[in-house]
Structures are given as C-alpha cells and as structure tokens.
C-alpha cells in the first residue's frame, strides 16, 4: 500500500522523462498532474483505511535490503506522518497545476517535481534511519536543480547556498544516526529496534545536538536560516510552495521523530534552551519580515518565525503542545503555500513584488480583487485570527506550552502580534489605495490563476471551523509519543545525575 505512493510518482517521473515523442509543456504538465492526483487519491484511500485510535505504525511494509549495513526497506505510517503525507500529496498537485505551461525543458522540470515528492514521501514513511536519510538526501538533488535551472536572476547563488547548508545538515544527521546505532549496540538502523535510554546523558546530548542542528538547518531556525529567504526569492512559485509547504516540515518532523521520540531524556534536559531558541527564532523571523519590501521575502521570513512555534511546542513536550506542533505543521503548510501562490500571481501579473511599487491591487475593476481578498484571508490565518486553521494551531501550541515555559511562550505570543503587523504592512501597501501607475494596466486574471489558492483558502477555513477533523488523526500517536518519552525521562532522571 505505502510503496504505491513512492512507485506511482517514480513511474510518473520516468514516463515524463522518457516519453518517446516530443512532449509539449502542456502535455508534460498533464501527465505529471495525472500521476500526482493519482498519488493524492491513493493517500486519501490510506487515510480512509487508517485507524486513528491505534498508536503504532500502520500499513507496515518490510523488505530486507543490505543486512550488513542494517539497511532495510521498512515503511510505516502513523498519526504524525499521515497529515504530512496528505499535505505533500495536495501541494504537489497544486504546484504542478500552478506551473507555467511555457516552462522550458518541461520533461526535466516535471520529473524533478515528482522525484522531489518521492523523496519527501519516502522520508515521511521510512521506519529505518538509514532509509530516512537516503530519502532525505534524495529530495535535495531535485530541489537544487529546480532552483538552479528554473530560478530567478541569482538562482545559482541561492541554489548553491541551499545545497551547502542542507548537505551540512545531512552530514550532521547521518553522524547522529550512526552514533545512535553504534553507541546503542543495535544491529540495524530500524527505528523500532533502537533503544537509547541506556546511553549516558552526555552521549544523548551530543547525539541530540547533531539532530537539532541538522534539522534546525532544514526547518530553518536562527542562525541557520539564511539560505531560506534566498532560496524562496529565487525559486519559482511552485517550488516555493513545495519548499515552504512540505520540505521545511521534514525538519520539524525529524525533530519530533528522532529527537523527542528517540532521545526524550536529553530533550527534557535541553528543553528550556530549545524553548528560548524557539522564542528568539519567532521574534527574529517576525522582526526581519517587518523590514522587508519584497513580498516573497516577507512571507519567507514569516516562515522562519512560524516554524519557531513548532520548536516551542516540541520543547514543552506536553500532549497538547506536541499536538499543536503537528497542527502548526499542517497549518503553516496550507497558509504559507497559499501566500506563496498569491505572491506568485501578483508577480506574474504585475511584474513586481516590491511593496514600494505596488499599490491598490484590490481595485475591483483593474486590480486583482479576488487574489487580494484571498491574501487578506491568508494573512489573517497566518496571524492566528479565530475561525481559521492558524488560530487553532497556535492556540494549541500556546496552551500546551504556557504552563511549562511561560516566559518563552508569552514572548512567542508577541510574534503573533508582529505577524499581524508585517502582513498588514503588506496588505496595506500592495492592496489598498489607488492603483499605482506601474500596475495600472494589469493583464486579466483567470480562474486557473486563482484556483490553487482558492482550494487552500477553503481548507484553511474548513479546518479552522472544524479542527477536530484534523486533530483526531494525530492525537493518539502524539499522546503515546509524549507519554513514552515522559516516562523514559523520569526513569532516567532517577538513575543518573548530570556530570559537572
């Protein structure tokens, strides 16, 4: 069942790449979209068959691969990976749909998008550390190429920076994985066979440090964030959607799965520092966003801030906060993808993202009123206005973290206020007022331009009004993860003390 998700997309990538006759951009997009939709539908089928009450991995698949290395093809899905897989399936469809039909070298472009999705899907499903790492590294190559070939003016710089940062992140993660297996004496990289509870705290802290920095780069958290705004600005809109909506979540997923889940004691020990780190990330990301005049860079910095909430929630490690972290992952995926799509439409039609040039885009006749309205909805959701998915996610994060880290949580809540500030600046400058002369003659906006963002807007409202439809898939898994971690941490703290 789970392998189908990977194989379908691999097959799609192969069909597009090796199609016998000359393939137009439109046809390439159609074929890719067909495979992506099939993949998404298959994911939904899995969701229907998923049993939310169970806490373990479901639909498990196992094939021995290289025994000597402890590498096996082991897949599974639980309440943590399920929502992220659905989001990945949806956003891959939307990003393919919103790709330009005139994209040069369409075969290569679309096959890379599917390969990227293969990497992400595999990473979310992998139940073996080494397999996770392989998929994690697999997504780097397509993403690097997608930015380097189809990016903006400074694409080479941005792509190289992205590659260097994430390759370094990969090295740290691999080193930590190797350390986990080697030091725990496990004979394989299988997640369920790893027991790190007997390791000394210092060792656990070292392993966790590798995980934190490795995935911290991917998330990204300050001070490892500088690759993200560059990558976003240079990447085309569909790639920014995938980057913000899916790829950053690999980092937060990794933190929860391999940090909190495998090293709960060290996690508990470091958690005050993690919460403080999260707080600074939130405030720094928001402050940088306020200073931006490029709409896309503003949304990119907002991602830095919003991913900080996830770290805060994970640091608090209460059932409610971790549930909030999962919700925030989904919420951020939907909201940031929508904002990037809308910024993309503005850029495509107005030819600029500069807030000093744009004005009055909400004009009902000559502007883009529906795009503007959705942008207002998106920024309201991002600022955590009730009735939208962002509110429930942030509320869960704050409610779950406040008792554990009151100062950090209250400080992070200021970030929500700052989100409203910078997004109001964006909306006020670009959308209100009289249309500026530079954008007085905008070309028509078609429903195909608006449709991807509209789908996300609907989901933002639906899950905002009925968050239970989202929460109930993850709640038992999260509760089990936090309870196991908590009991391990308590057991450990009674046995050992921290060496001076």
């Amino acid at each position: 069942m789970l392998s189908t998700l990977i194989l379908l997309q691999l097959l799609g990538a192969a069909v597009v790449a090796f199609y016998p006759s000359n393939l137009s951009g439109k046809l390439a997009r159609g074929i890719t979209l067909t495979f992506a939709i099939a993949n998404f539908l298959w994911t939904l089928l899995l969701v229907i068959q998923f049993r939310p009450g169970e806490t373990g991995q479901q639909f498990g698949e196992f094939l021995p691969w290289i025994d000597a290395l402890g590498l096996e093809y082991s897949l599974g899905m639980d309440g943590l990976s399920l929502p992220l897989l659905v989001v990945n399936g949806l956003l891959t469809c939307l990003s393919i749909f919103s790709s330009d039909q005139l994209t040069p070298r369409p075969r290569f472009y679309y096959s890379l998008i599917l390969l990227l999705s293969v990497g992400v899907t595999g990473a979310f499903l992998a139940q073996n550390l080494l397999l996770f790492f392989l998929f994690y590294e697999l997504e780097l190559i397509p993403l690097y190429l997608l930015i380097a070939i189809w990016g903006g003016e400074k694409r080479a710089y941005a792509a190289t920076k992205f590659l260097i940062y994430t390759a370094f992140s990969g090295i740290l993660i691999l080193a930590s994985f190797l350390g986990m297996v080697w030091l725990s004496g496990a004979d394989s990289f299988a997640l369920d066979k790893l027991d790190l509870s007997a390791l000394p705290l210092v060792t656990q802290l070292l392993l966790l440090a590798g995980i934190l920095v490795g995935f911290g780069i991917k998330i990204p958290l300050i001070p490892f964030h500088t690759w993200l705004p560059d990558a976003h600005v240079e990447a085309s809109t569909p790639i920014s959607v995938l980057l913000a909506g899916v790829l950053l979540k690999l980092g937060t997923y990794g933190l929860l799965r391999f940090g909190l889940n495998l090293l709960p004691t060290a996690w508990a020990y470091l958690s005050p520092w993690l919460a403080t780190w999260a707080m600074f990330s939130v405030l720094y990301g928001a402050s940088c966003a306020i200073a931006q005049t490029d709409m896309k860079k503003m949304v990119a910095y907002s991602s830095v801030g919003h991913m900080g909430y996830i770290l805060l929630a994970a640091a608090a490690a209460t059932p409610l906060s971790v549930l909030g972290a999962v919700m925030q992952m989904v919420s951020h995926s939907l909201i940031s993808a929508m904002l990037f799509l809308l910024v993309g439409v503005v850029y495509k039609k107005a030819g600029s993202r500069d807030l000093n040039l744009l004005c009055g885009l909400l004009n009902p006749g000559r502007g883009m009123p529906i795009v503007g309205s959705m942008m207002i909805l998106g920024v309201m959701a991002s600022a955590g206005i009730p009735g939208m998915v962002g509110f429930m996610a942030e509320f869960l994060v704050f409610r779950g973290s406040l008792a554990v880290f009151p100062i950090q949580t209250l400080s992070a809540m200021i970030g929500t206020g700052l989100t409203a500030v910078y997004f109001l600046i964006l909306v006020n400058r670009a959308f209100f007022g009289r249309l500026s002369p530079q954008v007085l003659n905008l070309p028509p906006i078609y429903w195909s331009d608006r449709a991807p963002a509209l789908i996300l807007a609907l989901l933002i409202i639906i899950f905002g009004i009925q968050p239970a439809w989202l929460i109930h898939w993850s709640q038992p898994t999260v509760a089990a993860m936090v309870n196991t971690g908590h009991s391990l941490a308590v057991t450990f703290s009674t046995k050992q003390t921290i060496p001076n």
Binding site: G365, R366, R434, N441, P444, I445
Partner: protein, 376 residues
C-alpha cells in the same frame, strides 16, 4: 491628507481656451473617441429616458406621500414587477434621486430662487390644504411644523425639474445616436454641435409643474414664473453634478474637520468631470449605479471595443465611466459654447474679449478635472 492638485497648468489651460475659440472641442477628435462617445450617449439616453419618466411620475403622483413604497413602479404594481424589483432586475432609479438631491443641495438658477419665494409658499399651502382636506391630523401637524410639508413640495419640484431636463437630454442623445447610425455624425466637433443645437433649441422651453388633486389642477411652478430649460435646470445641473458632486455610493474619506473639504460649496470639485474612474473609496467615486444601468444598453459596436481591450469585461464599469466622462466633456463643451455671450466667430474685439473671459472662467473650473486623462 487630501491635497488639491492643479492638473492643468495655465499654459495648457490657455491652449484649451484657444481650442474652444477655434471651434475645437475639449475632447480630442478621434474615431475611437467618436465611437465611445456616441455609443455611451446612446445607452445614457435610454437610461435617462427611464429616469425622467420615473422622476416625473414621482413628482406628479407621489408628492406629499409619506411612505412612497412603490415610487419606482411608475404606477404599475404587480407581483411579477415586485419580484423583479427585489431581484434587482431593474433600473437604479435611486441614482436619479441622488442627482435630484445633489441639485437641490447645491441650488443655483431660477428654480432655487423661486422655491424660496413667498409665492411658492402660498401655492404650497394651497396644495397641502387640498391634499389633506379630510386629514385633520396632518393639517394639525402642518400647523405645528409649517416648514415640513413645504419642504416636501420643494423636493417634488426638483423631481419634476430634473425629470423635465432629462426628458429633453434623453431625446437629444437618442437622436444623436440615430444621426450617427445614418452616417451624419463623423467627428467629435459634430457631436458637440449636435448637442449644442439641441440645448439651444430647447433653451427657452418652459419648466412647469402641475399636480392633480381630486380632479383639480394646481400649478406649483406656473408658466408665469418664467423658469426655462437651459438657465434654470441645465446650468444648475451641470454645475451641481458635473462640477461639484456626483452622487455615489461609497465612503467619503475626506475629513471636514481637517479642512480637507472646502468651506465654500462652490469650490467643491467632486463632480463627474473630476471623478477618478478607479473606485478607491474616496470622494470622486464614479456614479456606479449609473454605470450599472448603462451596461445593459451598450450598443454592440461599443461592447466590442470594450471586450477587445486588455481586461475585457473585467473592468467594464471603469471603461464605461471613462467613456461617460469623455461624453460629458462633450456636453460641457456644448454648454460652454452655447452660453458664449457673443458668437464664437465674432470679429468685434470687445466681444472677442468677453468671450475669452467667459471661456477662461469655465476652463479655470476644469483645472483639476480629468480632462488630461481622457485626452491621453
């Protein structure tokens, strides 16, 4: 903060004065302008015809009615018509009422003066007494508040005045369109001449207002008062609606307390000739209801032009508004030229001077108008 911009420099202003002296028009003469102006005036004519009919109906049949629920129905109330009304499949008669109120508020002309005279008040009291002969309650209230019902009749007089003015204008615009269809109109100056001729021909047409109460006619504006079409309705209308303030639906974002609105009413510049066709929520919002009405009656050749432009029908109302402004500059040209104290081509130096003063006075009023925008 709203700042007043002098869009037209003195030099450009003088250029336009010379243009008018030479028999040219404020709007540039071009085939596309001609199509737009004639086409939009055709649809405007149809709409004005409906407005005029309704205004006259309200003046003659709904006067002194406290709750005129069916005033837009022109006396034909039926379930089907009511449904269409609520479904909003109808002309926006509200726009005509806004225009009437604008005229009344800004005043000007003989009608405004007459409605403040003792003569009018006496006639009004007679009409009120006749209308409420069997209604002691209203008569009692009229004794207590003697200005209220008279004011209602003043409003009715404006309904009638504007209705009669638009009756003439609708016929001029529709016959202009017919002439164009017959191939008789080939340039913007010809359009202006046609309108001017229409205005001049009806300049002295009397404005009268009579109501029928229990089979007896009451002359609220008798012919003997001497109110005429051009001086007492056309000029006040142009002054109020074209220059000072076009009726609109929307929020005025000017702050009177910060002196962003001139204290002197005559310095208002929120009229149709000044309106920004891009609706932004400030004063100068185009008369949206009128655009909504006109879009239903656009001739095919004009619709085709609009469809072929960059945004197609997305910005139809803005395109209609721009064309409407162009056409109103033609009407304004006709009015300015029609009111010249001496013939335009006079050889007498003193007469030329007087004409020059007249033209400069009008052009100064257009300093902040959209004239340059429509001629871009």
């Amino acid at each position: 903060m709203v700042t007043t911009q002098n869009k037209l420099s003195n030099q450009i202003l003088l250029e336009y004065v010379h243009r008018l002296q030479n028999g040219d028009t404020l709007l540039n003469n071009s085939p596309e302008n001609l199509l737009e102006v004639v086409g939009i005036l055709k649809s405007y004519g149809v709409v004005l015809d409906a407005y005029s009919t309704n205004l006259i109906y309200i003046a003659e049949h709904q006067f002194l009615a406290f709750l005129p629920f069916f005033k837009y129905f022109n006396g034909e109330v039926s379930g089907k018509k009511l449904l269409r009304h609520f479904w909003h499949d109808r002309i926006n008669f509200e726009y005509a009422e806004y225009c009437m109120k604008t005229m009344m508020w800004h005043g000007g002309g003989g009608l405004d003066i007459y409605l403040d005279t003792e003569e009018f008040c006496a006639i009004a009291q007679t009409v009120i007494a006749a209308k409420f002969k069997h209604n002691p309650l209203v008569m009692g209230l009229n004794q207590l508040f003697p200005h209220t019902l008279i004011e209602q009749l003043r409003v009715s007089a404006y309904y009638s005045g504007l209705g009669q003015f638009w009756r003439v204008m609708a016929d001029i615009f529709l016959s202009l369109s017919d002439s164009y269809d017959r191939g008789e109109i080939k340039s913007i100056p010809q359009v202006v001449d046609f309108i001017k001729a229409g205005l001049v021909a009806d300049a002295l047409k009397p404005i009268i207002y009579e109501v029928n109460i229990a089979g007896k006619l009451y002359e609220i504006i008798p012919k003997s008062v001497g109110l005429t079409f051009l001086a007492d309705t056309a000029i006040p209308y142009v002054e109020a609606v074209f220059f000072r303030g076009t009726p609109f639906l929307g929020v005025v974002s000017y702050n009177a307390q910060a002196y962003q609105i001139p204290l002197d009413q005559s310095r208002f510049q929120y009229g149709a000739l000044f309106a920004d066709p891009l609706p932004i929520g400030g004063a100068g919002i185009p008369p949206t209801l009128l655009m909504h009405d006109m879009r239903h009656y656009l001739p095919e050749y004009l619709s085709k032009i609009y469809r072929n432009r960059l945004r197609g029908e997305d910005d139809l109302l803005i395109q209609i508004c721009t064309s409407f402004q162009k056409s109103m500059f033609c009407v304004t040209t006709a009015t300015i030229l029609g009111l010249l104290p001496y013939p335009r081509d006079t050889q007498d130096i003193s007469q030329q001077k007087a004409n020059q003063v007249h033209l400069e006075k009008w052009m100064k009023k257009l300093k902040n108008s959209q004239l340059l925008e429509v001629n871009k």
